[in-house]
Subunit: 261 residues, 6 copies
Amino acid sequence: DFESALGEMTPAFGVAEEALERCITGGIIKYDQTVHQILDSGKDIISAVRSHTPLLSVLLYGPPASGKTALAARMALDSEFPFIKFISPQAMVGFNDMMKVQYMQKIFMDADKSPLSIIVIDDIEDIIDWIGIGPRFSVTVVSAIRALLRQNPPGDKRRVVMTTTAQREALSQLNMLDRVFNAQIPVPNVQGLDALNRALAKGGMTDREAEQTMALVESEKGSQISVGIKKVLEAVQISQAVDMKSEKCAEVLRAFMVSQY
Amino acid sequence: DFESALGEMTPAFGVAEEALERCITGGIIKYDQTVHQILDSGKDIISAVRSHTPLLSVLLYGPPASGKTALAARMALDSEFPFIKFISPQAMVGFNDMMKVQYMQKIFMDADKSPLSIIVIDDIEDIIDWIGIGPRFSVTVVSAIRALLRQNPPGDKRRVVMTTTAQREALSQLNMLDRVFNAQIPVPNVQGLDALNRALAKGGMTDREAEQTMALVESEKGSQISVGIKKVLEAVQISQAVDMKSEKCAEVLRAFMVSQY
Amino acid sequence: DFESALGEMTPAFGVAEEALERCITGGIIKYDQTVHQILDSGKDIISAVRSHTPLLSVLLYGPPASGKTALAARMALDSEFPFIKFISPQAMVGFNDMMKVQYMQKIFMDADKSPLSIIVIDDIEDIIDWIGIGPRFSVTVVSAIRALLRQNPPGDKRRVVMTTTAQREALSQLNMLDRVFNAQIPVPNVQGLDALNRALAKGGMTDREAEQTMALVESEKGSQISVGIKKVLEAVQISQAVDMKSEKCAEVLRAFMVSQY
Amino acid sequence: DFESALGEMTPAFGVAEEALERCITGGIIKYDQTVHQILDSGKDIISAVRSHTPLLSVLLYGPPASGKTALAARMALDSEFPFIKFISPQAMVGFNDMMKVQYMQKIFMDADKSPLSIIVIDDIEDIIDWIGIGPRFSVTVVSAIRALLRQNPPGDKRRVVMTTTAQREALSQLNMLDRVFNAQIPVPNVQGLDALNRALAKGGMTDREAEQTMALVESEKGSQISVGIKKVLEAVQISQAVDMKSEKCAEVLRAFMVSQY
Amino acid sequence: DFESALGEMTPAFGVAEEALERCITGGIIKYDQTVHQILDSGKDIISAVRSHTPLLSVLLYGPPASGKTALAARMALDSEFPFIKFISPQAMVGFNDMMKVQYMQKIFMDADKSPLSIIVIDDIEDIIDWIGIGPRFSVTVVSAIRALLRQNPPGDKRRVVMTTTAQREALSQLNMLDRVFNAQIPVPNVQGLDALNRALAKGGMTDREAEQTMALVESEKGSQISVGIKKVLEAVQISQAVDMKSEKCAEVLRAFMVSQY
Amino acid sequence: DFESALGEMTPAFGVAEEALERCITGGIIKYDQTVHQILDSGKDIISAVRSHTPLLSVLLYGPPASGKTALAARMALDSEFPFIKFISPQAMVGFNDMMKVQYMQKIFMDADKSPLSIIVIDDIEDIIDWIGIGPRFSVTVVSAIRALLRQNPPGDKRRVVMTTTAQREALSQLNMLDRVFNAQIPVPNVQGLDALNRALAKGGMTDREAEQTMALVESEKGSQISVGIKKVLEAVQISQAVDMKSEKCAEVLRAFMVSQY
Ligand SMILES: Nc1ncnc2c1ncn2[C@@H]1O[C@H](COP(=O)(O)OP(=O)(O)OP(=O)(O)O)[C@@H](O)[C@H]1O
Ligand SMILES: Nc1ncnc2c1ncn2[C@@H]1O[C@H](COP(=O)(O)OP(=O)(O)OP(=O)(O)O)[C@@H](O)[C@H]1O
Ligand SMILES: Nc1ncnc2c1ncn2[C@@H]1O[C@H](COP(=O)(O)OP(=O)(O)OP(=O)(O)O)[C@@H](O)[C@H]1O
Ligand SMILES: Nc1ncnc2c1ncn2[C@@H]1O[C@H](COP(=O)(O)OP(=O)(O)OP(=O)(O)O)[C@@H](O)[C@H]1O
Ligand SMILES: Nc1ncnc2c1ncn2[C@@H]1O[C@H](COP(=O)(O)OP(=O)(O)OP(=O)(O)O)[C@@H](O)[C@H]1O
Ligand SMILES: Nc1ncnc2c1ncn2[C@@H]1O[C@H](COP(=O)(O)OP(=O)(O)OP(=O)(O)O)[C@@H](O)[C@H]1O
Ligand SMILES: [Mg+2]
Ligand SMILES: [Mg+2]
Ligand SMILES: [Mg+2]
Ligand SMILES: [Mg+2]
Ligand SMILES: [Mg+2]
Ligand SMILES: [Mg+2]
């Protein structure tokens, strides 16, 4: 019945808008110039494919919580390509290796029917079951992804693949960087006090609260702070339900930064 | 028939009260300030989710017998969320990896139907079959748990996941700490003579017996004692059926502390 | 048909008397004070469970042939609990891992129906297929045993589990000692000339023969002898059919002690 | 149904022209003398088989993107043998080891029916699931390929096998070079400014753009440049849709060369 | 149908005389005092079981070709026990692990029905698929053999198990020596010129030929020669069909001794 | 259907003449004295079995392309035994381990019905899936081959087994040399200028061409040349279709010798 379930997935020209929107619930805050640059790189690649290049594969990589998934989702939605799909580990819980491969292959085959397609592959390290100790990973899935990402769409169809990872090192060890991706875009943390300040303010704090939080964080960590935008927004959210918002927010941020070792 | 058995598990809005109550048969003795702090942290997280945060994952970690399971159970019951579930290794004896994954996935899917849900995952290291030599573990189960714990509930549903472990090091090696948990709460042993004294007395000994036990323990181990609350209550229980209660209790406690190496 | 065979195993309140009796064919010879102490420790644990403790797990460990199985069998039979079961590697020859787990789980579920139950698990290292090189072992069986031994019986039911092993080191490596057993009882070899003398005599030799054997053994090995009670009885038996009993018996004992490396 | 699908593959005298043409979309640019030499070596081998040699196996090896696949495709098409087949990892996505082996064996058995056959095996390292860490690979597929490549066609049938790889080292470790291939042809990168200039110009740039690009690349990397012809054409293509073509093209080329480590 | 084939094996009281006779085609040549001693040890063990001991397991170990199998076969046949069985790797070619275990278990269960039984297990290292590199071996079969060899026959039934191996070191690594065997009997090579001389003469050479062979061997290898009785008889046989018997025989013997490294 | 296919293989008294003839398409050129010696050793072994020895196993080993398969085929055909079979990796492409074992076992069982049989096992390292890294190999197939090669034919039937390998080291690591083979015959490369000259001339070159080729090879490699007879004939063949035969032939030979490392 997995087979029949696969068959019922509506074919080409399906768009995964809802799933992608859910990845950007915090919006895309322009806390820094880097954010603009990343979005521009993405636009360039997409318009190259829109006009004539048959296949471009992009890798978005960066530390945990830096915003990789949200940025890939944003770019895919902005492309307005007729075929947009989102492949994530969450959609494959309980799948064995063969099912994963068939599931992804089905999506690529559907994409083959669309003149312009964009496929977002989120957390590729989790999809291939990468675990740093050993290391261990699914040879079957690695093998299939390697072939699918290198597969030219037929005729004059064209395709963008956007992949995210917090473990670029894994792809390097698997010898996948050079052979599979045409471009690599780093997604950094929010770095430095100014960027953090903007992120906190645009993330829902009053200017006052943001300033107080900054002061507390700076007093303990100095100005060399670095933390993912997702964690910044999380800290803001957790402190909402509390009396001493700034103190709580600063505490949560510090805890995040400590555990980053 | 595993499939049909899974199907018959009553869906959402089921509460695992009985199973959780059985984890707190010794109550929650306030032998120390730490106990209050742990319970408070838990309350804060739960109320954050109750008011607006969609997903918070918490890790309770500490040495064997320190009371992790009882504390997680207490917090879950106190949340009074409409959907409360308890996932433990005991419930999955005889399951293969796929069955484990389906079992857990079913519970998370049921939780997805409830506006507020809390899931307790006990002894996560045993659920993933972690064995320190190698190390060995179930890649399939690790992979599924990683995805399930990162999976946002749909729409405006909200969820707390409380996970316990005596092997935080395992999760660290699996690169799960940072990427999966929003907060980590340490659960320490009963430490020092005062705390032990309160634990013994509140655990069922007369003041006299507790004092004698303390004296015997101190005479041999000094005041630097450290032992899990579960073991303290076990020692009290074993000595109940014996003539020389304090001697037996002290002997059992010493044996526990020796074997902790 | 394995399933239906499992189903036909008569449920609770079954007693494994015959199998246990066969483990004590050489009786329990009181060659030393240690033998009394071991039996007493066992009695204390059993009476604690008889009166109020829900679950106590005991580990009997010691060198090969030291009498672990016979002592566990003796204690179990003496408990006179309504439910007594014996789990041994011999009963699971030809079982795959899943069958082993189901077989043991069935016994624990049956025990759950009895107010007082005692389960003897013999040679746990063989049940988990432990082999020191690697090391190798069955993760599936380790996982199930770990969960079963930690599983509280339901309601006010109470249970003792007595486990034997000649490879306590294996359990230590598997991180099972602390988390699984409430008490650990060492079972030593027959040590020193006096103990050996008593063992030989009570084992079936005339005083004269025992003395002669002792002299021969002492002359070669000195008084620092150490050998399992099972091997002592074996040596006595083998020498029965021979002309020069003492010489043969001493020869066999020496061979045993040499091969102990 | 995999079996029946295999059966329906049209037997001998089938030609994989379309698939091979798609490998040469960028044509074969004569940027260098090496290109002529490679094509000549190929011709010699093919004519040896055309006239009398029963079996010759050739290995085309070189860095990623150096043009291996296109060259093998060109040679195969130019042979005008009645039986030409293309075996690639893309055609085997979702196949398990046994299916891969059966798929390839079918093609070799079909080839056995043709007086003259040529089989192109692309990216052999991916077909055998080679991953450098470990290393890991499919023993089953290695074993089958080893036997198939050594298998003489029956009677007076004759065969060429052209294999490509970017990981000759893998084949060396698998002890396949000596025993399996009769000739090995290296396919180098575009090396030096002159070759790059010719490649850019023939790849679609105006002479002016090519010169400007060269100047920018040289100013940063010196004259020791080395990059695959596929990447050169990719850089040209990406810069087409952009205003400052030469700058973009140089930037992309530099990024490629950096990531080659 | 493996199951039904197993079922048709005639149960207890079957004797494997023919198979055992075929192991002694070269007879038992008394080339040395050791041969007598080995046979005597065997007789003692067998008569101990004949009179009263329920279970004795013996290990015959020694270098390749030293005569282990023939000696075990001789002892088993001489026992005249009503149940004699021969378990060898040859009988299990093509069996998977489970089939091997079931096959052996069937034989032990049949033996359980006989008052006196003797089971010869030949080349135990091959039965457990032992390969020194790794090392590798079948955990399943090791596990089953360990349990079967330790399993007491029921009631007052009695059993001898004779096991042969050229890799006692393997059993030692598997921790099987101490726990499984009650006695260990070494089977050495033919050692020294006198023993070799007797072996050659009794093996079919004329005194003259034996002497000439000796001279040739001694002149090259000195008197420190050591070679298995099976190889000695092989050398005699090979030289039969040749003109210069002594020269050929000496040549073959030297080749054997060289390859022993 | 594999089973039924096996069943249809015509039983005993089948001869694999065609397959063996195809291994000697280049004839047996007497380029050296060694060739005579190898053939003689083979004849001696075969006549020993023809007259009285029940089982002799021979190993032909040497570098790649040295002529092992052709020599084994020649000897087998010359034996004129009523049962001759050829077991090669090519015949088992797509077989899993169990199928390989059953296929070989069938051939040995058929051989058991013939008074005199000879079985050639080609490239044993490939049949057992030996790969030097690890090393890896099929335990199942190793185990079966080990047993089959040691299995005496029944009654007064007699058998020769001729095995070839280019990886004698593999068999040594698997501990198979001593225990499995009664004789080992090395098959060397064509070594030195004289032997090469004779090989070239008898391989199809005119004396003139051979001499010119020799001069070219000597001028670059000196007189210490060493190359397999199969490669020599390959070089001659490739140069046939070319204008400058001697130059081409010398070039190909040099390439072969370089790649031998
Ligand atoms: N500039 C920004 N870039 C990315 N995300 C942003 C930005 N501003 C706000 N966000 C919000 O921050 C969150 C980023 O989370 P996201 O899941 O994309 O991070 P991630 O790097 O993929 O994390 P993980 O490593 O856990 O996969 C999203 O909710 C997004 O809407
Ligand atoms: N302050 C306390 N905190 C936790 N448990 C307490 C406390 N006071 C009493 N208890 C009792 O102590 C026992 C704690 O056992 P629990 O199983 O929770 O420990 P654990 O750390 O989960 O052990 P393990 O490492 O074996 O899983 C429970 O019976 C609980 O009712
Ligand atoms: N004091 C004693 N303690 C234990 N066993 C005794 C004692 N006296 C006599 N025996 C007899 O000695 C034998 C002990 O064998 P048992 O199988 O219990 O040893 P074991 O330690 O379990 O051996 P193994 O390590 O092989 O499992 C039994 O036959 C038992 O009846
Ligand atoms: N001289 C040339 N040699 C090879 N390819 C050329 C040449 N000139 C132009 N091309 C074009 O360059 C591209 C070469 O790509 P190709 O896929 O063959 O490279 P590759 O080495 O196989 O890459 P990969 O390592 O990724 O498999 C093709 O589009 C081909 O048409
Ligand atoms: N004294 C002896 N002891 C053993 N075998 C003897 C003796 N004298 C003659 N033989 C003959 O020598 C041969 C011994 O071969 P056997 O197969 O028993 O050796 P093995 O040690 O089992 O060899 P392997 O290590 O290959 O299993 C048999 O044919 C046997 O009849
Ligand atoms: N003296 C010779 N010995 C062996 N083969 C010879 C000899 N003279 C000519 N030949 C021919 O040389 C070729 C030898 O090839 P063969 O396949 O036997 O080599 P091989 O050592 O088995 O190679 P590989 O290592 O690849 O298996 C055959 O075609 C054979 O007819
Ligand atoms: Mg992400
Ligand atoms: Mg717990
Ligand atoms: Mg025991
Ligand atoms: Mg390619
Ligand atoms: Mg033998
Ligand atoms: Mg060969």
